[in-house]
């Protein structure tokens, strides 16, 4: 367990709600009811949305909180294009980690995507509800896999 991981465990970054958020998005695991909500405060520069501030909340395990802390820290200050790339890179990385870590990390990544999509949809419909995406991975080990 490295020092960076322990620091995220001891003091998760960007944890909490955001009362004046411009958008919210939810990543959900339908199998066990765990979920992650990501709140964004967004500014626009030449029509490009930029993540000014970000918060997340989780109903889930410690791994989800660590993943939320790391990913939101990476996402803060990015424009949506770069944040989309962060989501895609994270999704590609999931095959290399254990199933339980993968599902927790995926939940955070899709919550970020959901929150950005909520923002995009609210450009046309300011009352659009928060977008929710469900994880594709499962905590269950496949045959031959180990944690």
């Amino acid at each position: 367990m490295d020092a960076q991981l322990i620091e995220h465990l001891m003091e998760p970054k960007n944890y909490g709600s955001m009362s004046d958020a411009d958008s919210e998005g939810i990543g959900k695991n339908p199998l066990n009811g765990e979920k992650v909500a990501i709140y964004l405060r967004v500014s626009e520069q030449d029509g490009v949305p930029i993540i000014q501030d970000i918060r997340f909340q989780a109903i889930g395990c410690t791994t989800t909180v660590v993943a939320g802390s790391m990913i939101t820290q990476e996402a803060k200050g990015l424009d949506f294009k770069k944040a989309d790339e962060l989501v895609n890179t994270t999704m590609q990385f999931l095959e290399q980690i254990s199933p339980s870590d993968a599902v927790c990390t995926e939940m955070v990544a899709i919550a970020l995507k959901a929150s950005m999509d909520t923002y995009r949809l609210r450009k046309g419909d300011p009352d659009h509800p928060a977008v929710t995406y469900q994880v594709q991975h499962s905590c269950t080990l496949k045959e031959g896999e180990t944690e």
Partner: protein, 275 residues
């Protein structure tokens, strides 16, 4: 009252954390004061329920990583001052009591000796207890997971208690709050000794506001069984290195057994009352 409740909630947690950071007699004073603040929190919550005011347990993030206890003590005094300024609109007897408590606590905290804090060095070593890297990692994850869980249970049972008019269920909920407070302190104490103390994460309102008691108790019993198994595994993993630590996990394990009994009783009672 909502803002007041949030500020007391935060002050309670900071005072509890300060108690966990301390290695002197100040620890017990801070624990006692944390208990008083938690009672203030419950009383204000009861007032909000009575007044039909909507509220939740959302709060700010609480940074606690300091190297001197005096820094966190000054922070607590500042928080107590802010609470004192917010005590308006509640019944006079309660505001008088709270003001008097706050004044006494500020005075006492201002006179506590400074000490170096070792609760955040992240060395993850327990004095006189050598643990393998694997056992250390398992213990680390267990402590973070379970300290958050105990805090979550405190808040959920507290919310259920605040909204219950049934004396029997209230007693069970209060017992479970008290038990989880004790476990949170025990796990927090071990985290501080290992240099990995952290404030438990805020509880999502969905977990307590839209609760279905029967399903919650059933899931809670399963979780307690899982927690017991974790304690048993940890006890076995550390037994060869430390009999003392193994005994601690057996002790927690046996306490969890009684939580299951309390929840089973509450479940049977709930079903008998609600068909």
């Amino acid at each position: 009252m909502k803002t007041l409740a949030i500020k007391i909630h935060e002050a309670w947690l900071v005072t509890l954390m300060a108690g966990l950071m301390s290695s002197t007699q100040s620890k017990h004073i801070l624990f006692d004061f944390a208990d008083i603040l938690f009672r203030h929190f419950r009383w204000i919550e009861a007032e909000m329920v009575k007044a039909g005011e909507s509220y939740d347990y959302d709060r700010d993030m609480i940074p606690i990583q300091v190297d001197k206890l005096s820094i966190i003590l000054n922070n607590i005094i500042m928080r107590l001052n802010q609470i004192d300024l917010q005590i308006i609109g509640i019944k006079r007897e309660l505001s008088n009591r709270m003001s008097s408590d706050l004044s006494y606590m500020r005075e006492m905290i201002a006179h506590l000796s400074d000490e170096e804090v070792h609760a955040f060095h992240a060395k993850r070593k327990l004095e006189y207890i050598p643990l393998s890297e694997e056992a250390t990692d398992a213990l680390t994850l267990f402590l973070f997971e379970e300290s958050s869980k105990e805090y979550e249970l405190i808040m959920i049972y507290n919310y259920l208690n605040a909204h219950s008019s049934d004396l029997y269920l209230s007693r069970v909920f209060q017992d479970l709050v008290d038990e989880s407070l004790f476990h949170l302190k025990q796990f927090g104490d071990m985290m501080a000794k290992m240099g990995i103390l952290g404030v438990p994460k805020m509880v999502h309102k969905e977990l307590y506001q839209s609760i279905k008691i029967e399903a919650f108790l059933l899931a809670g019993i399963d979780e307690e069984i899982a927690a017991k198994e974790e304690c048993r595994k940890l006890s076995e993993a550390v037994a060869s290195n430390s009999k003392e630590l193994a005994k601690f996990f057996d002790f927690i394990n046996n306490q969890e057994s009684y939580h299951i009994v309390l929840m089973q009783d509450a479940l049977a009672y709930w079903r008998s009352k609600n068909g």
